[in-house]
């Protein structure tokens, strides 16, 4: 007995000592760090910044007499000033001029003073920080304040290249400007960037391109906010100081994100219109590392301007205490290097100088350069999209309890009943079919037994096929909650800059779901494709994840930057489509548009920023005739009537989320708590809404939207092709003008100029 107890305490002592020693040694190692990469010999940056006689950049606008032609093509003339590297684009057809600097006509009235006035004339603005000092804050710099100068101004045939040198902060940024048949392109050449001691955060190249102050003319900034929104030119706007700055394709959760409550930018597009002179800008390359920055008049200077803000580093909040939430801000170490960073400015003809014209340019770009083929021939009736909820889970006593909403058998009778309403063009998305229901991710197959299992699903799908109804299975591979699919969160989880595995708390009752590394989920999806096929599914509906989430992955096993993630998702979607014949996604970023056949639950709303004056269906104008789309589920609408009218205005097809007629009480379900799912409560409404939508949209399913405008407050007109107009009246009173009468809270279809 005594012998044993002595050995215990001995073991204890040795272990503690050993651990302490190891810890000490480890800490010493951390401090000494013999294996860390030898510091790359800092290039003697200072030596690179001898002006060599180049004149320092002068304040003020460039002298317009010094501009000389550097390139010309059929449409445009590119003029540039060697002293400032500012340029002008002249549209040969109309003679209108786009400047890369503020309009000299109004420069005398500029309200900005001092540094910012200088910034407004600088061809490039950058933001940097001293990353070695935690307390330093970022600095915005233009050429003038930095005693900057130009280097190596060269013409290239289609334009010019130049390098901007910032001697004070020791940066060199090479850029390129070129004209093409229908656009002018500005480009930052990442490979040539020189950095000294300081860290580059972001670059705005020719920020004031096409900028105009509000001088009483009609004009607006187009933002890719939600489905699209306009900031109309106005003097004395509300809360002038506010600007718009959002990351293209959404926030990167691996970094710090300021909560702006705004919708994700799904389209790398923005535009500006002043009078009948307008351009639309597409961020054609490197958009994963770009923000859209807009400063309406009064925010920064009196001009309205909007530009691409190229990101090189992002802020990160490093927390050090879990109890107090204390921490400090830091920045990513190496800068993001993109293969290319190009913004294209498409000048618009005067008769196309509105947001419909801008959408047309973007649509053409998608068709010709992104390979997004138009819908082509469609069925006679418009489609109706039904999301059937299989099951979900809620917090139980020891384990989560399973809540059944629709078994595969009930799904068959649901589809039969809806089909029985005379709706022939149906598409079904079955969600929550996986093991343990909708809120469980990982190990999707086989279909949960409590719903009917694989065989039940097969029966349901073949029944649906007998009616000609395609069935998609809903899945979200970007989360894992149960460790199935061989997923181990430590090894396969998405990690942020600090190496922490990211988690999402969707419902406070539920344990956090782990984000999966993109390269890991790509493997999982590929492995599951055969299973989908064997069930007879027509495709996968990728919900809320693939096509939406673009997060840098710092997991050393699966390292991927935003560009890589976009590439992974695109190829994954393409391969799935090849295997299964079709894939769809909801409210997807537009890089996913090629492979997907339908955009589900596309946003139809904006972010309610006070500076936004109007919400427009920009995304819908781009998409109609390219892809089918729906807005939010009809039975989740805040205001049934108005939002139905909006779906008519926006050319969207109806969509419902439904359950069988005997669902469990889903009130406390983690995800599918939706107000009212029982399909028996909705059949009348579905029949009515479908009928009315069909009446309005069936004839124009494959047509593009060519115009969209406000006829009167609360009265909107959408034009398809040349002779098909839909006028929607949101008002409580009848609208009547020019021989067109639209009853209150209703719409009218006008074909070939007469009311039909």
């Amino acid at each position: 007995m005594t012998g044993r107890s002595i050995s215990y305490s001995f073991i204890l002592k040795t272990t503690v000592t050993a651990i302490l020693l190891v810890l000490l040694g480890w800490i010493a190692l951390q401090i000494w760090s013999p294996w860390s990469k030898p510091e790359t010999e800092a290039v003697n940056a200072a030596a690179l910044f001898s002006a060599n006689g180049a004149a320092p950049y002068k304040a003020g606008l460039p002298d317009e007499s010094r501009f000389e032609t550097v390139a010309e093509n059929e449409a445009f003339l590119l003029l540039a000033d060697r002293a400032t590297a500012h340029f002008q684009v002249v549209d040969k057809a109309t003679g209108s001029v786009w400047r890369s600097y503020p309009n000299p006509e109004h420069w005398a009235d500029e309200t900005a003073t001092g540094t910012w006035k200088n910034h407004l004339t600088s061809p490039i603005l950058l933001e940097y920080v001293n990353a070695k000092n935690y307390k330093s804050s970022s600095v915005t710099a233009g050429l003038i304040e930095n005693q900057g100068y130009l280097e190596q101004f060269q013409t290239t045939g289609s334009g010019f290249t130049v390098t901007f040198a910032f001697p004070k902060s020791q940066f060199k940024i090479p850029v390129e400007v070129s004209i093409h048949p229908d656009y002018v392109e500005t480009r930052v050449v990442d490979s040539g960037i020189v950095e000294g001691e300081l860290s580059l955060l972001n670059v705005k190249l020719y920020p004031l391109f096409g900028a105009e102050p509000s001088a009483g003319q009609e004009g607006y900034i187009l933002l890719p906010d939600g489905s699209g929104s306009l900031i109309r030119f106005q003097k004395d706007r509300i809360m002038q100081q506010l600007t718009y700055n959002e990351s293209v394709y959404g926030q990167d959760l691996s970094y710090y994100n300021e909560n702006t409550g705004r919708q994700r930018i799904a389209m790398p597009v923005y535009g500006l219109k002043s009078g009948d002179q307008a351009f639309v800008a597409l961020i054609a390359e490197g958009e994963e590392f770009a923000n859209v920055y807009a400063a309406p008049s009064g925010a920064v200077g009196s001009s309205n301007w909007v530009t691409t803000e190229w990101q090189y580093r992002k802020r990160f909040f490093q927390s050090v205490s879990k109890s107090t939430g204390e921490g400090f801000y830091t920045y990513s170490g190496d800068k993001f290097l993109a293969e290319g960073r190009a913004t294209r400015y498409y000048p618009l003809a005067p008769d196309k100088s509105d947001y419909a014209g801008m959408a047309e340019v973007y649509r053409n770009y998608l068709i010709s350069e992104q390979g997004v083929q138009p819908t082509g021939k469609t069925k006679e009736d418009v489609p109706l999209f039904l999301d059937i909820v299989g099951a979900d889970i809620e917090k139980g006593l020891f384990f989560d309890s399973y809540l059944k909403a629709t078994t595969t058998e009930e799904a068959s009778s649901l589809v039969k009943d809806i089909y029985g309403l005379g709706i022939r063009n149906l598409q079904v998305h079955y969600s929550g079919w996986q093991q343990d229901g909708y809120s469980t991710h990982g190990g999707y197959f086989p279909v949960d037994k409590r719903l009917g299992g694989n065989s039940g699903m097969k029966r349901f799908i073949s029944f649906a096929h007998s009616l000609g109804v395609p069935v998609y299975l809903t899945a979200n591979y970007t989360f894992n909650t149960n460790g199935d699919d061989g997923f181990w969160w430590r090894r396969d989880g998405l990690r942020n800059l600090a190496g922490t595995v990211l988690e999402d708390v969707k419902n406070p009752d539920q344990d956090a779901s782990v984000f999966v590394s993109p390269k890991f989920y790509a493997k999982t999806v590929m492995a599951d494709l055969d299973e989908f096929k064997s069930l007879g599914a027509d495709g996968i509906y990728f919900e809320d994840g693939i096509g939406q989430q673009v997060n840098t992955d710092f997991n050393s096993r699966y390292k991927a930057n935003r560009e890589d993630v976009v590439a992974i998702q695109s190829s994954l979607l393409r391969q799935s489509k090849e295997e299964l014949g079709s894939v769809i996604a909801n409210n997807a970023n537009f890089y996913a548009l090629g492979p997907i056949d339908h955009v589900h639950r596309l946003t139809g709303d904006y972010s309610y920023d006070v500076f936004v004056t109007e919400e427009i269906p920009f995304a819908q104008i781009v998409l109609h005739g390219l892809r089918t789309y729906t807005l939010e589920w009809s039975n989740l609408r805040d205001e049934g009537d108005d939002e139905f009218l909006r779906s008519i205005e926006y050319g969207a097809y109806p969509a419902y989320v439904l359950s069988g007629d005997r669902p469990d009480d889903l009130k406390r379900a983690y995800s599918v708590w939706y107000y009212s799912l029982n399909y028996k409560d909705w059949t009348d409404r579905i029949a009515e809404e479908y009928g009315r939508t069909n009446e309005a949209l069936s004839a124009v399913q494959d047509r593009f939207i060519t115009a969209h405008r406000t006829l009167a407050p609360g009265v909107k007109e959408t034009v398809y092709g040349s002779d098909y107009r839909i006028i929607v009246n949101y008002n409580e009173e009848l609208y009547s003008k020019d021989g067109v009468t639209v009853p209150a809270k209703d719409f009218a279809v006008i074909k070939g100029g007469t009311a039909g």
Binding site: Y8, L12, T15, V16, I19, L20, Q30, Y134, D236, I238, M239, Q251, L253, S254, Y256, N257, N259, T260, G261, Q263, Q318, S319, V320, S321, K322, L397, F398, N496, A498, T500, L502, D504, V505, K506, P508, A512, N586, N587, R601, L602, T603, G604, D605, Y608, D609, V610, V612, L631, E632, L636, R637, D638, E639, G640, K667, R668, Y675, S676, L677, N678
Partner: protein
């Protein structure tokens, strides 16, 4: 060993917890699941605190009061003519009033004026009372004739102007012996009733509203809040000396922050810095009309107003800063802490609440930064004054909101049948919205469809309504089964009579059958419990000295008692135990029960072994298990019975439950007496000591846990700092 485990624990815990933090920090902005989204979410919370998301009740309808153009002829008078038309810019406005014609009056405090806008938000005029200039006016009220009352805070007065803005009367600090010397007269807001009496909110006045008659003489304080006097206060008063007690932070009732008046003359007040009863609806006598009125009154002893969405918000109570009442009596309040707007019906039942996260990066249409005041107009719109952004956000009722208002108004007027189709529609749109269930239940009750009413009231979790419907159903059942019941009673009576006759003759007279006595068999030990309840002291004595109880028998009884306790918690009728509506989580309840019981066993053993008690540990353990027997004996039948009772028979149920507790209490006293061989008084003393020890054990455990948590946190921070910086 220990070191090893600690290390493992730390390594495992650290990344996980950071991950959670990171998720909270990083993932929040991404949680927007919906494609179409207002800048705020709308919720309903039932009496059990269950949060239900609903369709938006109000929709942003624009911004007024910002950069309002002053028409030319007015502008000509103003000096800054050069910059186009002059514009109204508010500066820290504090109050908002909408008159019967939807004119909007804004107390533009920072600019020492009142601004009047018309129903479309166009400029009408500004009032600054040139003959006696306003100084930081922070409240405005307009009566039926158009007379304007202004709480002119900077001048410590209230002024009454006629409709043209000419000064009619000043109300300075009233002269009255009833007004304490120390009372500070800083009027910040006021309402005026039909008689012309003024009810003035003064800054920090815990005495209530200052009530003045039209001539300005002091009538009294109106609607004061009461001080919450807790048991702990009573204890302090008992223990402390007079000086000490007075030196304690002065206990004052909450000061009324704002008030409003409705068309029927009810005066509504909101109070900050109190945890319940933040809204009061006072009649002319100053009595609160909301007390005990709500549908969930049975669940809540103390009614709280001002809702919160996230559970972590419960740490800081909402501070209601203003209230408005619409034509049908619905009250809407704004909370300046969490930036939430909550709407209640005329009886204080919650209808909706909504609010958005505070976003510093931008400002949104429909969301205020600092809600200073709220008012409603005749179109049912809500106007919320933003004291930081100096503007008014207008919210219009949505279709869903309007439908609920209409249905609820009918229900409150007692027109249940008319309300039914409307509630049906609400229910179709949102099956989880409890007011629709309540509305339908009331309609069903009115139509004497008690079965459906019972079902709906149960689903909604309304105890009173359920109990009444159940009573009706029970009555019906008794009526229809009366004959059968009487026959059964008769039959049982006859059988009993016959049996007692016959048994007397047939069975030989002997105690309890044959006495087989394999001294301490398990059945014998179990049976001992019946002896024990008849002769408690002897019974416990026998456990100590005759070995009448064993480990197995005690454990069986203990487990049975725990099971019975669990059954009582989960099986008691909804009427007496509303918690079953949301489902009782038996685990914590059981753990608590077992924990206290174990603590008792240990502490009693410790105390009595020090004080010459004769019981061994196992005796305490055995007898404490045996003493729980009443839970099984009475608890189960009472729980079964509860399902046949209604609130009318609450007394019976309470009495039976009380009986269990008293019996168990007595058994424990006798137990201590019996096994330790104490007198009755000694036993009481020992029990008291044991409880004291038990409390100490609990406190020690608590301290230990929180300290070790701190330690883990400390090491975690240290690790983070060393690694990262």
């Amino acid at each position: 060993m220990g070191g090893n485990r600690l290390k493992n624990r730390r390594l495992r815990i650290v990344p996980l917890t950071i991950a959670i933090m990171a998720a909270i920090y990083a993932a929040w902005p991404s949680l927007q699941a919906f494609a179409s989204q207002l800048p705020y979410d709308t919720y309903y919370k039932d009496g059990f605190g269950q949060l239900v998301k609903t369709q938006a009740a109000y929709i942003p309808a624009g911004i007024i009061g910002y950069n309002v153009e002053i028409p030319a002829e007015e502008g000509a008078a103003s000096p800054e003519k050069s910059e186009g038309p002059a514009k109204v810019l508010l500066n820290q406005p504090k109050d908002l009033f909408v008159d019967g014609k939807d004119n909007v009056y804004i107390a533009d405090t920072g600019n020492n004026r009142i601004v009047q806008l018309d129903e479309n938000g166009q400029y009408v005029r500004e009032i600054s009372v040139s003959e006696s200039p306003l100084n930081k006016p922070s409240g405005v009220f307009v009566d039926k004739q158009g007379d304007i009352y202004i709480a002119d805070t900077g001048n410590n007065r209230v002024v009454r102007l006629n409709a043209e803005g000419k000064l009619l009367k000043e109300f300075g600090r009233p002269e009255s012996g009833y007004l304490p010397e120390s009372f500070k007269y800083d009027p910040v807001n006021l309402v005026v009733d039909k008689r012309g009496f003024l009810y003035i909110t003064t800054l920090g006045a815990y005495q209530g509203l200052v009530q003045l008659d039209p001539e300005g003489s002091f009538i009294g304080f109106f609607g004061p809040n009461r001080v919450a006097f807790t048991l702990f206060d009573a204890f302090k008063r008992f223990v402390y000396t007079r000086e000490m007690y007075q030196r304690e932070l002065k206990k004052l009732p909450g000061a009324i922050a704002n008030s409003t008046i409705d068309k029927d003359g009810f005066i509504y007040t909101v109070t900050k810095e109190i945890a319940s009863g933040q809204i009061k609806k006072l009649n002319i006598a100053g009595l609160d009309q909301l007390d005990g009125k709500g549908d969930f009154a049975a669940l809540q002893d103390e009614r709280t107003y001002g809702e919160t969405i996230h559970h972590w918000q419960r740490g800081v109570n909402p501070q209601l800063s203003d209230i408005t009442v619409d034509a049908s009596g619905n009250m809407t309040v704004v909370d300046s802490i969490w930036n939430m707007i909550s709407q209640y019906d005329l009886n204080g039942n919650l209808l909706f609440f909504w609010g958005g996260d505070d976003i510093t990066a931008t400002s949104k249409t429909g969301v205020v930064k600092t809600p200073a005041a709220i008012a409603g107009n005749s179109k049912g719109e809500l106007l919320v004054l933003d004291g930081t952004n100096n503007l008014i956000q207008v919210l219009r009722p949505s279709r869903f909101g309007a439908l609920v208002h209409e249905a609820n108004a009918l229900t409150q007027e007692g027109r249940y049948e008319e309300s039914e189709p409307l509630w049906e529609e609400v229910y179709r749109l949102n099956a989880n919205y409890t007011p629709a269930l309540i509305g339908l239940a009331k309609a069903a009750y009115k139509k004497e469809d008690y079965k459906r009413a019972e079902e709906l009231f149960y689903k909604a979790g309304v105890v009173g309504g359920y109990s009444e419907s159940f009573w009706q159903n029970r009555l019906k059942w008794f009526q229809s089964h009366f004959g059968l019941l009487m026959n059964i009673v008769l039959a049982v009576g006859i059988v009993y009579l016959l049996w007692s006759r016959l048994s007397g003759k047939l069975l030989p007279k002997k105690g309890w059958g044959f006495r087989f006595r394999p001294r301490h068999s398990l059945p014998g030990r179990l049976k001992h419990v019946f002896y024990l309840i008849k002769h408690p002291v002897d019974g416990f004595y026998a456990i100590r000295y005759e070995g009448k109880a064993g480990v197995v028998s005690s454990l069986i009884l203990l487990v049975l008692a725990i099971a019975a306790f669990g059954y009582m918690q989960s099986g008691t009728s909804f009427v007496f135990n509303p918690a079953v509506h949301v489902g009782v989580d038996l685990l914590p309840v059981t753990v608590q029960f077992v924990g206290i019981w174990l603590g008792w066993v240990v502490s009693n053993y410790l105390v009595s072994s020090l004080l010459r008690g004769e019981g061994r540990f196992r005796d305490v353990f055995f007898s404490s298990s045996y003493a729980l027997f009443p839970i099984i004996l009475i608890g189960i039948p009472v729980t079964l019975l509860s399902n046949a009772l209604t609130l009318n028979e609450l007394a019976i149920f309470s009495f039976l439950k009380l009986a269990i507790y008293i019996w168990i209490g007595l058994l424990f006293i006798w137990m201590v007496q019996g096994i330790h061989n104490y007198t009755f008084i000694e036993a009481l003393f020992i029990i008291l000591l044991s409880l004291l020890v038990l409390t100490m054990i609990v406190i020690l455990i608590f301290i230990f846990i929180s300290l070790s948590n701190e330690l883990v946190n400390f090491f975690n921070s240290l690790y983070q700092e060393v690694i990262i910086r």
